[in-house]
């Protein structure tokens, strides 16, 4: 991928200024990367990440924070340097496999995952008749090892999602259909005021807090995992969770009362909708699949817990 943005003058001057130093640090000679190519790579990376209108000082700082040696190695590999590949394999082959095993948690899947990544790294995939090497997209923002893990994880998640999608489609065809049609009458407890108050409270949170909440409540991550993701101590996250739960509750109540609900009413609304939440959740999940697909199947559905509702639903549909 090539940088589409034009290279700004400040980046160019910063690169020119620091090239000698960075070149020496990167060890380009050993891996057969020309000084000019390094300059081009640096310009490309800086242009990609630096916002428009950055200063030269900002560019210099940015360039100095890059992992220049790993960047040079990755780009030399992408360019097909044998010595670079040798170095890369000695350093990362074992780690790559271990990371894959840790992510996939199963040996064969791990091998599969690692092999597919190797294929990408070697550039066996071609695009427009040109071999593309995944390493060419490495920009040295983080460590090469970390990048490899991230790429592995992305690959794993993509595959998992794909598999899950296949599986879940089947499941959805069975019991997701009942929610396929929009509920004719909104649930009384899923008060619009409650929803809007909740949304407002969530929107008022900072992105980190929302991320923590999502990771904990939606992804089911443990506090320790979240703490590691954010690089803080577990107890910090634990305290943050407690605080968030309390303040969210307070804010939602305040929001509802602002919308004209009595305090008691607001509290009840907050407590009552536990079961309806499930409905709500499922509905939001179901929204991912096209609703129309399942409409035909609705007659075959066994009438389960929501019998009355479904009857209403049916009458709504038929009419």
């Amino acid at each position: 991928m090539r940088a589409t943005k034009p290279i700004s003058a400040s980046v160019q001057s910063a690169v020119a200024d620091l090239l000698a130093e960075l070149h020496a640090k990167s060890g380009c000679e050993k891996i057969g990367l020309a000084r000019e190519s390094l300059a081009a790579i640096l310009c490309e990376v800086a242009t990609k990440y630096l916002p428009a209108g950055n200063t030269e000082a900002g560019a210099r700082t940015f360039l100095l924070t890059l992992r220049i040696e790993e960047l040079a190695l990755a780009r030399a590999c992408a360019a097909g340097s044998n010595s670079a590949w040798e170095l890369f394999l000695t350093r990362y082959r074992e780690k790559l496999y271990q990371s894959a095993l840790r992510i996939a948690r199963e040996d064969s899947a791990a091998r599969d995952l690692a092999d597919s990544l190797y294929a990408e790294l070697y550039g066996t995939t071609t695009r427009d008749g040109e071999r593309t090497c995944k390493l060419a997209s490495f920009t040295g923002r983080g460590s090469l090892e970390g990048w490899l893990r991230t790429v592995l994880a992305q690959e794993f998640v993509n595959r998992y999602r794909r598999t899950k999608r296949l599986v879940s489609l089947d499941e959805e065809s069975e019991d997701g259909a009942q929610f396929a049609a929009p509920d004719p009458e909104p649930l009384p407890t899923a008060d619009s005021r409650l929803e809007s108050a909740t949304d407002a409270a969530l929107a008022a949170l900072c992105s980190e807090d929302r991320m923590v909440l999502a990771a904990y409540y939606l992804d089911g991550r443990t506090l320790a995992e979240i703490a590691r993701m954010l690089g803080v101590h577990e107890s910090t996250i634990s305290r943050k969770m407690d605080k968030l739960a309390k303040s969210l509750r307070k804010k939602i109540l305040a929001g509802m009362m602002q919308q004209g609900m009595a305090r008691r009413q607001a509290e009840e609304a907050l407590e009552v909708d536990v079961r309806d939440l499930k409905v709500d959740l499922r509905r939001s999940l179901a929204q991912e699949s096209p609703a129309a697909t399942f409409l035909e199947k609705k007659d075959e559905l066994p009438f389960q817990e929501g019998g009355v509702k479904r009857q209403k639903l049916e009458t709504g549909n038929t009419s």
Binding site: T139, T150, A214, Y217, M229, R249
Partner: protein, 475 residues
């Protein structure tokens, strides 16, 4: 699950369609996971992560393997680990505090006891601290005493009232009414337990009683009926420790009281160590007081803190000079004639019982002296002359207020003087115009370290104005 409203989870999930936005590339996610992103970039990634479950999963999966920290093997009881040391330190602190508290308590208790006596007799509290203050207090006391003279009745009542069971109170009451004896005794009692205060309070106290001495005498004169009653109180209250000091009454009654007080106060103020307050000691008069009565306060006085290193002096019934270094429990005969080997006296540990009885007998000279004191005559004249024998018999004793300077006189003109508490004695032979004091000395009175008089059995009175260097004889 924490107490988060379910609606929150629902609404969290709602904005899932974040797919329109491009996922951050692997580099940014890596940098985020490695915490090398900052500022705007980090916020953007976080914002995306808050909405994108996939990217959250990627970040979580891409986390480096957790470095397993080697868990230190649990060793056996290690007494030098910090938690243990911490509690050990706390325990040590508690123990230390308890120990200090105990020590302080034991140290404070006699002090408190003493200070109650001090409080009762306010004039004495300050003198204990400094000599200068002492003299200041003595003078008001003299004034106070004059008031007491005007109201002998109240005085007596006060004395009787104060003769209450608590030792300090008893002593005080006695000191207040009887003057010298009680006062000195209190001083001794107070001074002893507190090291370093030994000498000072005694000296001050010895002064303090001096102005008080006219009181009983005057009381006796103006109100004969109340006099004996009061004296009874004194006697019953007086312990053996009073015996020498109590004679101060005699001295001060003989001297012109008020001037004498000032004279005594001034040298004291100047810090003169050897006290001017010399007291005569007469042979014990035969007074019909029961020993039990005398002993009663002694029991209180014998409590541990009453022990003293300040020597006490007395003359036994047999005419031997005796000294006690333990507040009167045991009496040892003192050999004054070491230098001239007049008499080799053997040291004998006298029974406390005996000493007590003797002390009581001697103390009983006080009321008698007080009663007759205005004339300044020797009540000791009634001493049994038959006690004189071939060996030297002491009959008169004068002890300075700090008990260091002692004059002792006896048969055939024997007069001995010590200035170091009885360790070294020197014989003094008073002579004037070729006449040497040869009679039995029956009374020695020193009003201050320099001025004193010696009375003999043949009615001679020898006076000195220079601490015994030169003497004048008066018939």
């Amino acid at each position: 699950m924490r107490n988060l409203p379910k609606i929150v989870q629902a609404r969290l999930q709602r904005p899932t369609p974040a797919t329109a936005e491009a996922h951050p590339d692997a580099d940014l996610l890596t940098a985020f996971g490695e915490r090398s992103l900052a500022g705007r970039e980090r916020d953007q990634v976080l914002e995306h992560l808050a909405r994108c479950g996939n990217c959250r999963a990627v970040v979580a999966l891409a986390l480096p393997a957790q470095v397993e920290l080697p868990v230190p093997a649990v060793r056996g009881a290690n007494w030098f680990r910090w938690p243990v040391l911490r509690w050990a330190a706390v325990t040590a602190g508690v123990v230390l505090m308890a120990w200090i508290g105990t020590v302080q308590y034991h140290r404070q208790r006699p002090k408190q006891f003493a200070s109650s006596a001090y409080d009762a007799k306010q004039a004495i509290t300050t003198p204990a601290q400094s000599t200068q203050a002492a003299s200041q207090v003595v003078v008001p006391q003299a004034g106070m005493r004059k008031e007491a003279l005007a109201a002998p009745r109240a005085q007596t009542a006060l004395a009787e009232k104060k003769a209450a069971p608590p030792a300090g109170e008893v002593f005080h009451g006695r000191a207040y009414s009887a003057g010298a004896g009680g006062g000195a005794s209190v001083g001794g009692a107070i001074g002893r337990p507190v090291n370093g205060l030994n000498v000072e309070p005694r000296r001050d106290l010895a002064f303090a009683p001096a102005p008080q001495s006219p009181a009983p005498a005057a009381t006796a004169k103006q109100n004969p009926t109340s006099g004996p009653a009061q004296q009874t109180v004194e006697v019953s209250g007086a312990s053996q420790m009073v015996e020498v000091q109590s004679e101060g009454v005699q001295v001060t009654t003989q001297s012109a009281a008020q001037n004498q007080i000032q004279d005594q106060a001034n040298p004291n103020e100047a810090g003169e160590q050897s006290s001017a307050d010399r007291v005569g000691k007469a042979k014990p008069a035969l007074v019909q007081a029961s020993p039990g009565l005398v002993r009663a306060p002694l029991q209180g006085a014998n409590s541990s803190f009453m022990k003293s290193l300040v020597p006490r002096w007395t003359i036994s019934a047999g005419g031997a000079l005796q000294r006690s270094l333990d507040g009167g429990n045991t009496w040892l005969e003192v050999n004054v004639a070491v230098d001239d080997s007049m008499r080799v006296s053997h040291l004998r540990r006298a029974q406390t019982e005996l000493a007590t009885t003797e002390a009581g007998a001697q103390t009983r000279t006080v009321p008698k002296t007080s009663a007759e004191g205005k004339a300044g005559s020797n009540s000791a004249r009634s001493a049994d002359a038959s006690a004189a024998s071939a060996t030297m018999i002491f009959r008169a004793l004068s002890v300075s207020s700090n008990a260091a300077e002692v004059w002792a006189g006896g048969s055939r003109g024997a007069l001995y003087h010590t200035v170091d508490g009885g360790n070294r004695w020197s014989r003094v032979v008073p002579s004037a115009a070729g006449i040497v004091l040869a009679g039995d000395i029956i009374s020695i009175q020193f009003s201050d370290p320099r001025n004193g008089s010696v009375t003999t059995s043949n009615a001679e009175v020898w006076t000195t104005g220079d601490d015994g260097q030169t003497w004048h004889r008066q018939q």
